[in-house]
């Protein structure tokens, strides 16, 4: 009996060891693979207008898609061989897994650069965009700047940390619901005058459903910016692909390309991009390819 248990245990242990071998990261350089197949697989968004969306004829377009096209052109030039681009549509809940499983070589998919994510994927520095918290309000609401929300009903999402710091502390009466559909309904029904949320969620609403949101606009400056980063696998971070991507992003900041793209896609000007342009031109360390604590 004991013997057979030991046998089973040994088998289980061995299969785990084998599994470990299979999922162990391939040591070959990602860029070599890309050049060999003549193709790069990039994770993109299709559900986040205007950063990544589908146009009327179903093509994937958006600010991030323009960035990716530009990067692939640079890549082809760098390796001296035309590299084909294959886009794989990802969503927020699977983008990191796709990268870990090797389904994509990299992604630019509206991902904010957070400490817990940096442990899972390699977030390429510098960051390329930034979003923060703002209030989306009706034009007749009288909301204009953070101080103006005192005593007003402001909708929010239950459990969001900024409900206290930016809503309650500014004197607003927070009306918080479980999810965004309830908030939208309450806002349109006039149960609250504004919506405290991530500003990058308001812009797609204005772009996709202009009639519905015609009377609403972002009525406060954006605060508590969280930057967005492109990602490669953890092992690849610091490798050739990641270095090339860093160089491209630095160049986009310096040349003002990101600001141009922002304008092209109808995204309200982000102060962060303006600052980054100046800082990159001045050679600030924020604009290098390593992540420094507190950056």
């Amino acid at each position: 009996m004991i013997k057979s248990i030991k046998k089973v245990a040994a088998r289980v242990a061995m299969s785990f060891a084998l599994l470990g071998l299979i999922v162990a990261p391939a040591m070959a350089d990602v860029l070599d693979d890309i050049v060999e197949r003549g193709k790069i697989v990039v994770g993109v968004k299709a559900d986040y207008a205007p950063w990544g969306m589908r146009d009327a004829s179903g093509n994937l377009v958006g600010m991030e898609h323009d960035m990716i096209d530009d990067f692939v052109a640079r890549l082809s030039k760098e390796v001296g061989k035309p590299i084909e681009l294959e886009k794989v549509v990802v969503v927020s809940s699977n983008r990191m897994q796709f990268l870990e499983q090797g389904k994509v070589d990299m992604f630019i998919a509206t991902m904010s650069n957070k400490p817990d994510r940096r442990k899972v994927v390699g977030i390429v520095q510098p960051d390329y965009y930034s979003s923060g918290v703002a209030i989306f309000a009706h034009k007749d609401s009288g909301v204009d700047g953070w101080k103006s929300i005192a005593g007003k009903k402001i909708c929010g999402i239950q459990g969001a940390w900024y409900n206290k710091d930016h809503g309650l502390k500014n004197g607003a009466e927070m009306v918080a619901f479980k999810g965004t559909p309830e908030v939208e309904k309450a806002l349109l029904d006039g149960r609250c005058v504004g919506w405290l949320y991530d500003d990058s969620a308001f812009i797609p609403r204005k772009v996709n459903e202009p009639e519905k949101w015609v009377d609403y606009s972002i009525a406060t400056p954006t605060v508590d910016d969280v930057p967005w980063g492109a990602a490669v696998t953890l092992d690849e971070l610091g490798g050739r692909l990641s270095t090339l991507l860093s160089e491209a992003i630095i160049d986009w900041h310096k040349s003002g390309r990101l600001i141009e793209l922002e304008e092209k896609w109808g995204i309200p000007q982000t102060a962060w991009l303006q600052q980054m342009r100046e800082r990159c031109r001045a050679g600030d360390k924020v604009c290098n390819d390593v992540y420094d604590e507190g950056e």
Binding site: Q158, W161, N163, A176, F177, K178, K185, G190, R191
Partner: protein, 245 residues
């Protein structure tokens, strides 16, 4: 009072038990406001649901078939749907339609108002059935005797049936009212700032989920315990010696 708050501050500093609702004035104020909201929301709903129960039972015995049918429909509607869905339905569907009809912007009732309406009718539907059970338990010979003494139908109900029925159905009523108090927590779905809603905000802000879960648990234990104690005393005080034995 400061000494108590300081003790909780010490508890956090020394043992990492983060009860901001005691030492942080901001959290303390909103938390106690939340408990107060739970208490008066429960009180208003309990009173209204009992009124609805009494009226409903009275109407259920109406000689008019349509009145009986309407009451029956009301009971089925409220008893056979979950309270959370009723709350959403009232707040997001009924309110929108009615304010659309009336041309009102911003809703006809706020979230607290709709919580009162929906929870009172929800518990009221059960109360109707509870009271009916009590009424039916009153022996027919008793009501017949009252009629023979010249009582009208309303008088029989008011002076004979109801007082007796009330004693029969108190245990079942207690159950339902306790349930009602617990069901007020669903009002947090439509942003009524009651205990659970506020606690959820606090644990999201302070990352003290574990501590707040315990606090919420204790709060409801105390609130429900108090209601149970109150109802038991009431039950005892109205007991008729020998009746129901």
């Amino acid at each position: 009072m400061d000494i108590v708050w300081d003790w909780f501050q010490w508890l956090y500093d020394e043992h990492g038990i983060k009860l901001t609702i005691f030492y942080d004035e901001w959290d303390r104020n909103r938390f106690f406001k939340g408990i107060w909201t739970t208490i008066h929301l429960s009180f208003v709903c309990i009173v209204l649901s009992i009124v609805i129960g009494i009226c409903g039972t009275w109407l259920q015995m109406s000689p008019l078939v349509w009145v009986r049918r309407i009451i029956q429909a009301y009971i089925q509607f409220f008893r056979n749907t979950p309270p959370l869905i009723q709350l959403y339905f009232f707040y997001f569907a009924v309110d929108t339609s009615v304010s659309g009809l009336l041309g009102v912007h911003g809703g006809i009732l706020d979230s607290y108002g709709w919580a009162v309406v929906s929870l009172s009718f929800f518990a009221g539907a059960f109360n109707v059935e509870i009271f009916r059970a009590g009424v039916e338990a009153v022996p027919q010979s008793t009501t017949e005797a009252a009629t023979a003494l010249g009582y009208t139908r309303r008088q029989v109900y008011q002076y004979i049936t109801l007082p007796l029925a009330f004693r029969v159905c108190l245990p079942a009523l207690n159950n339902n009212l306790i349930n009602l108090l617990k069901t007020t927590t669903v009002a947090y779905a439509i942003a009524v700032p009651e205990t659970l809603y506020i606690s959820n905000q606090i644990w999201s802000d302070e990352y003290n989920v574990f501590e707040m879960m315990n606090v919420v648990w204790v709060i409801y234990l105390v609130l429900v315990g108090f209601l149970v104690w109150l109802m038991h005393n009431w039950e005892k005080s109205v007991k008729i010696p020998g009746y129901g034995k």
